[in-house]
Symmetry: C2
DNA sequence: ACCTGAACACCGTTCAAGT
DNA sequence: ACCTGAACACCGTTCAAGT
């Protein structure tokens, strides 16, 4: 029999996420992750073929959590309420995982396309029911663009001209929802 | 007298931008930039204290170009037209400099805050004239959030559900402008 | 003054050798 | 089967030595 495993895929992802939020993406070195889980760097390659794949796995995990948050926001027959709850949960998710949220949009898309599409599923569902298949797509793109752009700027501290960021979020969301519904 | 300068700040920035668009931010290594301008890596440190500062200089240059593009979109007394031209120029700028555009929002903000604020100046001007000081700020944040989010997703190829991306852009922009003006 | 080779500490990654 | 030290090619950065 061989040596006992000292760690696991899930523990490695968790360590990588901890380092990501603490020290940014640059802080997620293979050596640092390895130390985080009590192993040497080369051992990580038994489970993840490269640093890029480890980061992709983290991205996939985050997208799964985002999708769950979006699903919880949906209530049958309450289009506007569902969209408002989605927006609030989306923002809360990004604030809980600021570096992780940035990672989702940093890493070359292509991969994870399945998880990406799945995470927008609930939104597409609500909009398709409310607006029909045809109008749902541009509506979803408008809403997601606003949410993503707003969160990126908020998390990076780019709202520096004073005023209430909270109010701007409510105002922007209401403006778009008024236009859509 | 000392050795003749083989390069310049501007040439180094240009080399960095070429590498950035060709091979991504990872491709902008000090050695690669040095080779691009016909010098060895240590020489770059005479002009830029670090790779981070070089990238910051590139960011500043890009922000200046973006600001100029925004200024050209403004016509007195044409709020909606000015905003539509701004949106079109913003998108064109991002498509001309896809990696550079991403860099602007990748690099830890803090620095370049002056250039950042300046680049939003024309937009704030138009909106302040049209809506008054109070309402201009959340309006600007809504519009910029939409533009940034949309471009990020478009450039990263995240609009994968078919349909016309062009139409979605027009639709989203019109929806927001209808709500603002 | 600017340029350079050599050196340092750090990466990601591979691999042969251990148990 | 998993873990490890050693090694490789590459980073960013510093610095003494060249002209």
């Amino acid at each position: 029999m061989g040596a006992a495993a000292k760690t696991s895929d899930a523990e490695i992802r968790a360590g990588a996420r901890r380092l990501l939020e603490l020290h940014g993406a640059d802080g997620v070195s293979m050596a640092a992750v390895a130390e985080e889980v009590g192993v040497r760097a080369p051992s990580l390659y038994k489970r993840f073929a490269s640093r890029a794949e480890l980061l992709r796995a983290v991205t996939g995990e985050l997208l799964g959590e985002l999708q769950m948050a979006m699903e919880k926001a949906v209530r049958e027959g309450e289009a506007r309420g569902s969209l408002e709850r989605m927006a609030a949960r989306y923002r809360a998710f990004a604030k809980r995982n600021p570096r992780g949220y940035a990672l989702i949009f940093t890493y070359d898309a292509e991969a994870d396309m399945g998880a990406r599409l799945a995470s927008v599923g609930p939104l597409m569902g609500v909009l398709t029911t409310a607006l029909g298949r045809e109008r749902a797509l541009p509506a979803a793109r408008t809403l997601v663009a606003f949410l993503h752009g707003f969160l990126t700027m908020e998390l990076q501290g780019l709202f520096q001209m004073g005023g209430s960021v909270e109010e701007a979020f409510r105002f922007g969301l209401a403006t778009i929802l008024d236009g859509l519904l």
